[in-house]
Amino acid sequence: MLDLLFIPEIIISIGIMFVILIDLFLQNYKKISYFLVQTILIISAYYASNMNYFPNYDAYELSNFSNNIKLILIIGSLIIFHYTFIHLSYTNKLKIEYFTISLLGLVGTMVMISANSLLMLYLGIELLSLSLYALIGFNKKSPLSSEAAIKYYVLGAMSSGILLFGISIIYGFTGSILYSDIASKMLLINTDSVEYIAVIFGIIFITASLCFKFGAAPFHMWVPDIYQGSLISTTVLLSTLPKVAVFVVFLKLYFIPFLVIKFIWSDILIFVGMLSIIIGSLYALTQENIKRLLAYSAISNIGFIILSIGLVTINGLQASLYYTVVYSLTALASFGVITHITTNSHGIENIKDMAGLSKTHPYFAILILITMLSSAGIPPLIGFHAKLIVIKSLIDSSLIILSMIVVLMTVISAYYYLRIIKTVYFDDREELISTLPGNSIILSINVISLLILGLFPYIIYNLSKHLASLFPSISI
């Protein structure tokens, strides 16, 4: 029973209090608090990977699957916090509260992953969202940041309302909020009855709200503004942790309680996925601001993930896991590179700020080259394998036309990644660019892993297969 004290959520929650307390007394030694934060993460990672006692709760899942995903989130946070720390301390915006709030958000994502009941899911989402509102508004002096925070807050509250509305409909007609109960009740509902239609409405409400949290089209309007308004380190966080968590929520919701009526939501998800890919690829073409560009790129990547969930096949499930892992790694790398580049001791904002980087910082130019080519899906980088496996599962499901649209969109999106490479390599320097002092070992490992994993793609393939085998799914 004591083992339960050592699940990552609890370790991190207790750790947060420690950090707040210690930071009170050591205001001038922020590095110590920062190391404490990282230590907490490492400890929780240790316990997440070594947990072997799994009690059976109805509403909260403790399993190998959830622990593996949590481990991925913790490792992601370690890297994000590293980028955040060096960026914030360089731009003199460092406050330890930033990390404690982020850790709260991390706990929120873990609750979302472990939730086996709709209310628990709602709790997790709210915990995450509240932390994100604070993080987005963190840059108090910038009006863009405040605007972004308000915007995200209003829209987020509305989407939470829609989620609750969907949950209450489902609860009203199935009499339960537990995933497993809903699944068995769904089987009994007659397809001609009113309940059936009501449940479908409930699912659509929930889907809409989750798509909003995911940042998928047509609920994507907030994404570019919020990405642009926040600090670059918040953007890194926004583009990785919540996405992974919402992705797992998608998997669990659709493959456990809603699996019975898959023919309803699979079309919706395929539509949302395709729309996200198309909008993400087309709108990114005209962006000058690098954060907005990466925001649209995130939208189109999310499209790939949702699309492969929507296929409702084992291949699709694996592809979505594969894509999510690769997407997180690539997003970390691309935002990571950008956090490291500065002009006049500010973070860069526009693509043209990076002009001529290859002449002054050839090493960083190579890192950008690798990340951008990987995002564009050019072999032999890992981004190619991720797109390949999604397209393969599309073709295995005989969706040839959709796969053609998808590949055409990858060609279009290749253009704006190439534009970045063009700016970095072929354009002449206008402003003074510098990179953050200190070493960039973690960044280098992050970026070079894109190449190494691309040459040995079976590593992530086996990982995603392993995760898929752990997934507590009913046969598809």
Binding site: S358, P362, Y363, I366, L369, L373, I378, P379, P380, F384, H385, L388, I389, I391, K392, I395, D396, I400, S403, M404, V407, L408, T410, V411, A414, Y415, L418, R419, I421, K422, Y425, F426, D427, P457, Y458, Y461, N462, K465
Partner: protein
């Protein structure tokens, strides 16, 4: 024989050394040139070894290296060679040696990076020509874009940004459609091996769509009319060695892919569409020759001439569809002609781009009107260049003649009009080749201010090696025939078995 991973060495050695050259900026220009030359020669020796050990009495795949790469997806690291692969691998290794020699006297910023990208390109090309797993092939095929993109973009001319992005997107567009066909074929065959695709029985509609997808993919690479427009831009902006590798080897990837994929897999659709495919090739040969004649820029002229000459390659390939049932010996001649045309064009276009590079270095202009009367100042160079221009127009005795002659002979077996139009190229190519010769080499130098001087020693070495090889292959092309004969027969029989 197959115990040594000779193909893997030929792929990965240049890539690794190239990466070292790129990532290390402290290497001096001299040592970078030396390392590159040494690597290129090593690879060339390996390719000669490959040629010597290759058993050309058999059409079986040789030097097989096959390991499981991505377990669950059935994707293999599967390298092997047949006669066509060997001939193109030798061409690649050979051209890279010449580039290494030629570039040793050139001066660029960050030269070790420049040479490093060429080595990476060489390794990837080796991979493209020896991959027999379709996904592995695709990966090498598409990775080729990256080093060339950077070579043109970083070291290219004034309009390089436009040219590189156009080139990249054009070829990427072509190849993604191809990827879909590969995945579709793999779904039906349950395997990604190219040879497994040959025995698939596809419906007619599937075949037509797959043929079109491959045609767009490889047609852009070759390039065929009307998707050739990226090539002149890319050539004009590329540095000399970039143009050389682009014209002499990268274009051949398209022809190679057609022989490897379109001929054996989509035979039925090919026979149905063969007339249209042949028309496309004839347009490339005749119309593009006129376009070439109208060019003012030497590099553009040679670029268009490349399109026209590659028209022969596609013509030879597509004639196979036309002749397969009725006259299979003519089909064999046509396909062999198109392969020899690929090799020969690889040598001749490389030579011409080297020559233009030398002229450009002196006058800083590629326009014909800015370069008059080079022969007054560079008599030896002018003699050499006139030889290459003659070879370009298919003079008997040079390798340029052999391929075109075979394709025209094969066309006679199909239709007299096709043969006539194809043969008109001999006159048209002579006219635009001689246009350069007349004006640039022997024109009247009005102002006499051009400071041409005879070419350097390493340039002379490159050009004389090319002369020897072009003459040698022109006089005794047997060596090539022997190499590709069995493979060609094998491809045509496997295609016709699938058809019947």
């Amino acid at each position: 024989m197959s115990s040594y991973p000779i193909l893997s060495i030929m792929i990965w050695l240049p890539i690794v050394i190239g990466l070292i050259l790129i990532s290390n900026k402290n290497i001096s220009k001299l040592s970078a040139s030396f390392i590159t030359l040494f690597t290129a020669i090593t690879i060339f020796i390996f390719s000669i070894l490959l040629f010597k050990l290759y058993d050309y009495s058999s059409s079986e795949l040789q030097f097989i290296e096959k390991y499981e790469w991505i377990e669950g997806l059935n994707i293999f690291y599967f390298l092997a060679v047949d006669g066509i692969s060997v001939s193109l691998i030798i061409l690649t290794a050979f051209i890279n040696v010449l580039i290494a020699i030629f570039a040793s006297s050139e001066d660029y910023d960050n030269k070790s990076g420049y040479l490093g990208y060429f080595l990476i390109l060489e390794g990837l090309l080796m991979g493209t020509f020896s991959a027999f797993d379709s996904i592995l092939f695709y990966i090498f095929f598409e990775s080729l874009l990256i080093p060339l993109f950077l070579i043109i973009g970083i070291w290219g001319g004034t309009n390089r940004k436009y040219a590189t992005i156009k080139f990249f997107l054009y070829t990427l567009f072509g190849s993604v459609l191809m990827l879909i066909s590969i995945l579709y074929l793999a779904k039906l065959a349950g395997s990604f091996e190219i040879k497994e695709f040959y025995s698939l029985s596809l419906t007619f509609q599937e075949e037509v769509l797959i043929l079109l997808a491959f045609l767009i993919g490889f047609g852009i690479k070759i390039p065929m009319w009307p998707v050739h427009t990226w090539l002149p831009d890319a050539h004009v902006e590329a540095p000399t060695s970039g143009s050389v590798i682009l014209a002499s080897v990268l274009l051949k990837v398209g022809g190679y892919g057609m022989i490897r994929f379109i001929l054996p897999i989509t035979t039925e659709a090919g026979i149905y569409l063969s007339d249209y495919l042949i028309y496309l090739s004839l347009v490339a040969i005749v119309y593009i020759s006129f376009v070439a004649y109208a060019q003012e820029d030497m590099k553009k002229l040679i670029a268009y001439s490349s399109v026209a000459h590659m028209g022969f390659v596609t013509l030879g390939i597509f004639l196979v569809f036309n002749l397969m049932g009725s006259n299979s010996s003519a089909a064999i001649i046509g396909l062999e002609g198109s392969i020899i045309q690929m090799i020969s064009h690889g040598l001749i276009s490389a030579a011409l781009f080297f020559c233009i590079g030398i002229i450009y270095k002196h006058s800083k202009s590629r326009l014909i009107k800015d370069n008059y009367g080079v022969a007054q100042f560079m008599p030896i160079f002018s003699f050499i260049m006139i030889f290459f221009l003659m070879a370009n127009s298919g003079l008997p005795g040079t390798s340029g003649f052999v391929g075109e002659f075979l394709v025209i002979t094969s066309a006679l077996g199909s239709n007299f009009i096709i043969a006539l139009l194809a043969a008109s190229s001999l006159i048209l190519s002579a006219s635009y080749s001689l246009k350069i010769g007349k004006n640039v080499l022997f024109g009247q130098n009005k102002d006499n201010i051009q400071s041409y001087s005879e070419c350097k020693k390493n340039e002379k070495i490159v050009l004389s090696i090319l002369i020897i090889i072009i003459l040698y292959l022109g006089i005794t092309p047997d060596i090539l025939f022997k190499l590709i004969d069995q493979t060609v027969i094998d491809i045509i029989t496997s295609a016709s078995i699938g058809y019947i």
